[in-house]
Symmetry: D2
Amino acid sequence: MKKKLNVGMVGYGFMGRTHSNAFGKAGNFFELPFQPVLKTICARNLERAQAFASNWGYEKVETDWRKLVESPEIDLVDIASPNDTHLEIAVAAARAGKMVMCEKPLGRNAAESEQMVAAVEAAGVANMVWYNYRRVPAVMLAKQLIDEGRLGRIFHYRAKFLQDWTISTDLPQGGEGLWRLDRSVAGSGVTGDLLAHTIDTAMWLNGGIDEVSAMTETFIKSRKHNLTGEVAPVTIDDASLALARFRNGSLATFEATRYARGHKALYTLEINGENASIMWDLHDLHRLEYFDHKDEGLLRGWKSIHITDREHPYMSHWWVPGLQIGYEHTFVHQVADFLTALGEGKSASPNFREAMATDDVTDAVLESAAKKQWVKVRAR
Amino acid sequence: MKKKLNVGMVGYGFMGRTHSNAFGKAGNFFELPFQPVLKTICARNLERAQAFASNWGYEKVETDWRKLVESPEIDLVDIASPNDTHLEIAVAAARAGKMVMCEKPLGRNAAESEQMVAAVEAAGVANMVWYNYRRVPAVMLAKQLIDEGRLGRIFHYRAKFLQDWTISTDLPQGGEGLWRLDRSVAGSGVTGDLLAHTIDTAMWLNGGIDEVSAMTETFIKSRKHNLTGEVAPVTIDDASLALARFRNGSLATFEATRYARGHKALYTLEINGENASIMWDLHDLHRLEYFDHKDEGLLRGWKSIHITDREHPYMSHWWVPGLQIGYEHTFVHQVADFLTALGEGKSASPNFREAMATDDVTDAVLESAAKKQWVKVRAR
Amino acid sequence: MKKKLNVGMVGYGFMGRTHSNAFGKAGNFFELPFQPVLKTICARNLERAQAFASNWGYEKVETDWRKLVESPEIDLVDIASPNDTHLEIAVAAARAGKMVMCEKPLGRNAAESEQMVAAVEAAGVANMVWYNYRRVPAVMLAKQLIDEGRLGRIFHYRAKFLQDWTISTDLPQGGEGLWRLDRSVAGSGVTGDLLAHTIDTAMWLNGGIDEVSAMTETFIKSRKHNLTGEVAPVTIDDASLALARFRNGSLATFEATRYARGHKALYTLEINGENASIMWDLHDLHRLEYFDHKDEGLLRGWKSIHITDREHPYMSHWWVPGLQIGYEHTFVHQVADFLTALGEGKSASPNFREAMATDDVTDAVLESAAKKQWVKVRAR
Amino acid sequence: MKKKLNVGMVGYGFMGRTHSNAFGKAGNFFELPFQPVLKTICARNLERAQAFASNWGYEKVETDWRKLVESPEIDLVDIASPNDTHLEIAVAAARAGKMVMCEKPLGRNAAESEQMVAAVEAAGVANMVWYNYRRVPAVMLAKQLIDEGRLGRIFHYRAKFLQDWTISTDLPQGGEGLWRLDRSVAGSGVTGDLLAHTIDTAMWLNGGIDEVSAMTETFIKSRKHNLTGEVAPVTIDDASLALARFRNGSLATFEATRYARGHKALYTLEINGENASIMWDLHDLHRLEYFDHKDEGLLRGWKSIHITDREHPYMSHWWVPGLQIGYEHTFVHQVADFLTALGEGKSASPNFREAMATDDVTDAVLESAAKKQWVKVRAR
């Protein structure tokens, strides 16, 4: 009989759904040492929390996260609420001895993240941040190929995360469902929301970043705020672009924007090595493009690998070759990896400390853009 | 409080998993009038059935399908066992007054299907066959576009279902996990397994088929059978190709094979109308390719539509634009549609009678190939 | 100093342009034993012939092809005029001892082609038919790979040639620029025009075809004829589809149509072998898609080979890697191959006899469609 | 009778071939006011120059460019020799009253370009620089769409020019056929060679660039030089990346490298506007990808336009829909546009002054990379 692991979830938004689904499904597809139980959902709006609990099978509803954190029946606190709540909840949960999982970005900036890292490390509790794109099977395969040295010396890395959902001037800049557009809540605009994903993957695949030169822009200068009803200056970054130099000497471009008409969530990455290159694209997440210079010259080309075979990462747990999985499965994989690591007494990657390194880079990006100069990334 | 609907599942193989997942997940993402309960799993091997039950949360295990069918606590019998069991179980379940869902193909031939149709219609029970590819959002969108008349007069339909998993001469022709290669169990080879999918979608999108000229082939003439241990002649069709004429006057090619090196499960369809054309491909199931001749001439081209927007079929129930779903979701949609229809006192499409029409075509295909002549599809 | 080779061209239409360009350009890019000279253009309309001569640098103009054929200063007669003129001109040219090149299809049917073959073989003159798509570098590479045995046993061949330019009901069915729609001139509709290309390539790559079952259709039943001004029944085939069995046991589908909305000249071919598969597409003619099952399992996929490297067929004569060539170059290659073969005392492939074999298949296709039964291809 | 225009070509390398082909072919496909005559080829190596003349039909050979420039029978001097010769030849040709065409980049830096601009403007002679990618039909169509205002306000521009041909450490850094790797000859590495193309197109499509922040790298630090035989430090830039801000407020990334394994000549550009977006890719130069937000929501997607219709730029001069042209045609278009403009007493774009603006940007890029700070582009 598997040991049960009681989950207390904070937040019922988009991320609350992906996490709840992941906790519910992981055990059907992976052999795990723990059986997660959706114990308690916590949110300020009682009625909605109850509806959410009913839909996902949470046993209890709580409106005060402090009670959740302190509840003896909770083993793990999962923070899926807006960015401005991460610090306080995570620190309290760690102090209460709970395992903590937190949506990305960890803090609104590295200073917040530092406190969270300190708290979980002082408490010695398992911790993880939901940079879910690492667990796309194609991206995990890229990681394997790089770690095996197949690419050789790395020359170039380029990543973009392009969206277009905020182009309309009629869109408000905050309030219900729109907190990502409110700097006080989110910490930053696309830098923390989208660029952070590209940075997390990049450092995981290609090592630390040494320095950046960045540029940000706010295209629509003022918008109505739904909470105040006032039209006010927009303070988030709509677009964030950076040149970067990795510690291994490779060069990079990073770009995130919500003003790239025609792209919904186009996270693409490419890495060019001496011997081989890799491309991946979130809009076709079940494919990996691979070029191997060691192939016979006559037949060299980019190979489109349909990542649905049993030998591909995670895929032996799903269907049969040719049948693709989707976005939500990355969260299931993250739960599976977390619980597997837990069975071995470890935290799964990225833990809070690793996620803080991403905040160090996004902080440097914002500072570089503000000062219009190259900025060294803090080395810890 | 939703009414519970107790499911008795027969079969724990690949399809047992997809169906169990669908019953479990549908309620999380769709507002449904019934809450399916995974009541009983039935399979001959008790130990495996217990493991399956434990994994998916079935309350009970049964090794004799007759007991399942007759159990008063079962509302719906779902048949996910090999083709040679469909007839007997479905007829018994109908006679016992149960709703019946059945994996495709309905019977091993139209004669079997006729008996099943008669049984469910006599019993007046809700019934459906799992031709799941209709519920790919992109395919459902194709259906909408065609039904709205956007394509105009249809000239051409072409579909293929290409696999390559049986090329090795070492592969046995039957036994554990390989019943699809055993004609006595499966009824036919690729004709009933793969071509049937292409025929079901085709008739749903483009109406009835009038006549066919077909060709089948068995490339590897003898293989070992795992149950007998003997090397024996292979009697299934490895490949099945057909020309066809639809009742609306359009022309078609259909092809199914397990010998198309490089293709895992490449189900593709294309339909060319006077005004517009559509292409779709299971290997990128979240996209629909659309060409509209009414577009401005200078800018005409094939549009790749990423079927992840809220206004796309089924997609408002999942994530946000740009984030794709996968194969398993088609089964979730089928459960959702079945339960929704049930709430309205109807069967969801394709019911047994509709699925029998597909068997009429595959029967004609096999007869045409055997006789080397054009064969009229039975008109009922 | 290279020997000059005087070309007499019959026809100044689309094919007259492609051939003239090819004769003019081949020497700039290939080291050839002969220098073609555009000596005489022959066409019934003197004024247009003169304009064409002036544009392309022909030295003389002739309005009677008999004079061209008999002119002692002509070494090679190139027939780029409508299909109903091929027989008479080719036979006369051969009898006059000229080398003969002829646009495809060779005759309007195999009976005509037989007479042409007899004439060139009796005269012992070099001869070739312009099935230009063999000389697309990607297609030539496919030929090399197949001939090297890389695909192993062949299971499947499928080819389509899809156009959409005759869908409008307003289009006349013959006259100036429209002779391809007039059966008395063209011999047939898409079968001789488009399907013939797919058959020529198929037999070149995969050997002889044994039998076919075909279906043709004329979607628009009557159209105005521009020469008579009368609305009359349409007698050409608008679409032509066939199942076929090759002599090597592989199965095929062939399809040609001018009613596939969205496709301009989409000639695609795919061949599936035991070990590898190949796809090619005229709309991106500079690419070859290749799947090799012998690749490492983890990284198997379809490779898109950009056929622009020096080691690719013909490409060392053009630009540098990455820079593509186009449609017209296939004709340049054909001239280069013809002249090179000539220097060795040979005809380049396909010669008239080889092209007649394609007419044997298209004849069988039309007979099969008319009789609605399988037809054996004439074996010579 | 057309007026003849005598061309004197300097250089017989790769660019000498593309230009010679263009002068030879333009008149076959375009109705032009002048007939170019390949009069004289000038190169230091007499034997090779003679072979080149024989191959392309030049009437004369010259080994001293000064004689060419002063020859009264030459109307137009075309400079296709290495970058370090552009200044001297162009200035002398202009002073001799010749029209001047020059390969890109115009000078090795803007200071050289200034002298060339001054010379042609003082002489009042027609002049043009061969930034040939403007004349890709798809790129020209992009220009039309942008100029018609279809994209609306522009937010983003991104361009890359990726190659991989210098990765091997065995490659020398200069000498025969390798002058692009020698800074003293080329002026810079990829910045002047590849980035310059992306800058020229970008400013033509999207207006002037205000400021840049750039980074360059030399990955292989020393290589043998073929002229000296010595191993010496490499001084060219192997890679060049820049962030930029256009005068219209849009943001850009530019990247050029010869170390992107798997890419031969992958020049890609994308431009995102408020209403529509465009992508183009040199590896499939006959396609334009277009997204129009004004399309019906249900069917929005990226359209792949096969730029082969008569109404597409330049394409009415070539073949029929579906049949693609290639790289060399961009030079033919440039000749056609130059001669057409000449007939109207104008220079075709980009003239020397326009090309100098590109050098202003590449100078700024190199300065920014050297100083590690943002640099304003010189405004003239």
